[in-house]
């Protein structure tokens, strides 16, 4: 058995969230746990593994079939660049690198307290990427421009 296997036990089936920059693993875990459907999923947390790409990285292994789209979009807002792999029979059958999204629709609140979307009921928020390298997004309504990680993600109700 290689050292890698000893450090990160393989899972038979599930989702591996990989290439999380070191230090952000617990933040990603926190995001997953803000969704009720994820709170009971068996999860292995790995921190500070060496990575040829990142130097050091964190990793999560989840014994679940899939990540719902809204969680994927939440991860794209909070931590783009990470990869999500689907594992079956101990093999990776699908790999997706979460890139900076072109648009963020309905999953984030506008940072501008005076934006109408923070006052009018049931308006679906929309943000469009206006500067991909700097991850800057413009609100379709108030036209304010914000950094992607400044956008407040709308998390589901726990009631």
């Amino acid at each position: 058995m290689t050292e890698k296997h000893l450090l990160i036990p393989k899972i038979e089936a599930g989702i591996v969230i990989d290439h999380i920059p070191a230090g952000l693993g617990l933040k990603v875990l926190g995001i997953l746990h803000s969704y009720p459907e994820m709170s009971n999923v068996i999860t292995t947390v790995g921190l500070n593994y060496s990575s040829s790409k990142l130097g050091k990285k964190d990793m999560l292994k989840l014994q679940t079939q899939a990540l719902p789209p809204r969680i994927m979009q939440h991860l794209a807002i909070a931590c783009s660049g990470i990869s999500v792999k689907r594992v079956q029979d101990y093999r990776v059958v699908e790999k997706l690198v979460i890139t900076v999204p072109e648009t963020v629709v309905g999953t984030a609140r506008c940072r501008n307290p005076s934006c109408i979307t923070n006052h009018e009921r049931d308006v679906t928020t929309r943000f469009r990427c206006v500067d991909a390298p700097k991850k800057r997004y413009q609100c379709a309504f108030c036209e304010g421009i914000f950094a992607l990680d400044e956008l407040a993600v709308i998390v589901p109700n726990h009631d």
Partner: protein, 306 residues
């Protein structure tokens, strides 16, 4: 598909030039020839915030084209005080009118209304965001004063951080070639950086000065805005700078003869009354152009050719 006028960001140079051409045509038409262009049509006015010029000029524009006006001039007389949503108010008034004009204190309000309704929507100011009809009438004023927009030398003075008029104006002028912006503002009220980045493709230039004296000598137009006391966290700071952004007739001594002073109005004391009688006063002509440009907007969005 219906068309709206929500933001200058949605308008390209070709559209701006089309509006300017239409404005010249509408201005040249005898009153009697335009008095029936919008006969039988109704403009719905939804003003959730007080305004004199913008509301009256839209209403005048509609009435002089033969149309009529319904609506409200402040939120206290609207159902919003009973808790009605903005979209419900708009969806109600659109059943009474062919086109709506809205002013609202929240940024993005006009866009929300535009997406909820089937009639054309005109944004007459949404918070600190946009005021596109003001920008169009300003461009038309520059055109009538100087005959051109390319190469215009314009000083923007006062509150450049929060003034929606200034923001829309910079966005529009940055679409023209070689426009030179001179920015005159207190450090706390500087033009936002993302607006300064806009003019790169059209070779716009931005220069900063601390005082108006220099701008008076070197620019075609000085566009004044009000420096509002409430924008300053420290009132001492306000007291220090308030007089630096004030124009009087003495300051204009020796100014180039064609220099124009403009202002979206209302002014408080940033342009002294003794400027009114100089050939440099452009702000009341600017107000007059407001009616012409708003007629153009109404005609255009309702698909009527003047």
């Amino acid at each position: 598909m219906k068309r709206d006028l929500i933001s200058i960001r949605d308008v390209g140079r070709k559209d701006l030039e089309r509006y300017l051409t239409l404005a010249a045509r509408v201005e040249a038409l005898p009153l009697a020839d335009k008095a029936h262009l919008l006969g039988g049509r109704v403009l719905g006015v939804l003003f959730f915030e007080p305004s004199t010029r913008t509301r009256l000029s839209f209403e005048t524009a509609m009435v002089r084209l033969g149309g009529s006006v319904v609506g409200f001039a402040e939120a206290t007389t609207a159902s919003v005080v009973k808790g009605e949503s903005l979209r419900d108010t708009a969806r109600t008034v659109e059943r009474y009118a062919d086109i709506l004009v809205i002013r609202h204190p929240r940024e993005g309000a006009a866009r929300v209304v535009a997406e909820a309704t089937r009639v054309p929507i005109i944004n007459a100011g949404d918070g600190t965001n946009q005021h596109p009809s003001q920008t169009l009438l300003d461009l038309y004023s520059f055109k009538t004063f100087f005959g051109k927009l390319d190469g215009l030398k314009i000083a923007l003075a006062g509150d450049l951080k929060y003034s929606r008029t200034v923001h829309s104006l910079v966005q529009a002028l940055a679409l023209f070639d070689n426009v030179e912006f001179t920015l005159v503002s207190p450090p706390a009220l500087k033009l936002p950086a993302h607006l300064r980045e806009l003019g790169a493709a059209s070779r716009s230039r931005f220069v900063e000065t601390e005082t108006l004296v220099e701008a008076v000598r070197s620019c075609d137009v000085i566009y004044m805005t009000r420096v509002q006391k409430e924008r300053f966290p420290d009132l001492l700071e306000y007291e220090k700078v308030k007089d630096a952004y004030r124009i009087d007739a003495a300051l204009l001594d020796g100014a180039p003869p064609l220099l124009k002073i403009m202002h979206p109005l209302p002014r408080v004391n940033e342009i002294q009354p003794d400027v009114d009688d100089t050939p440099h006063a452009g702000y009341f002509d600017q107000v007059g152009n407001g009616v012409i440009m708003r007629q153009v907007i109404l005609l255009d969005l309702l698909g009527v050719t003047p």
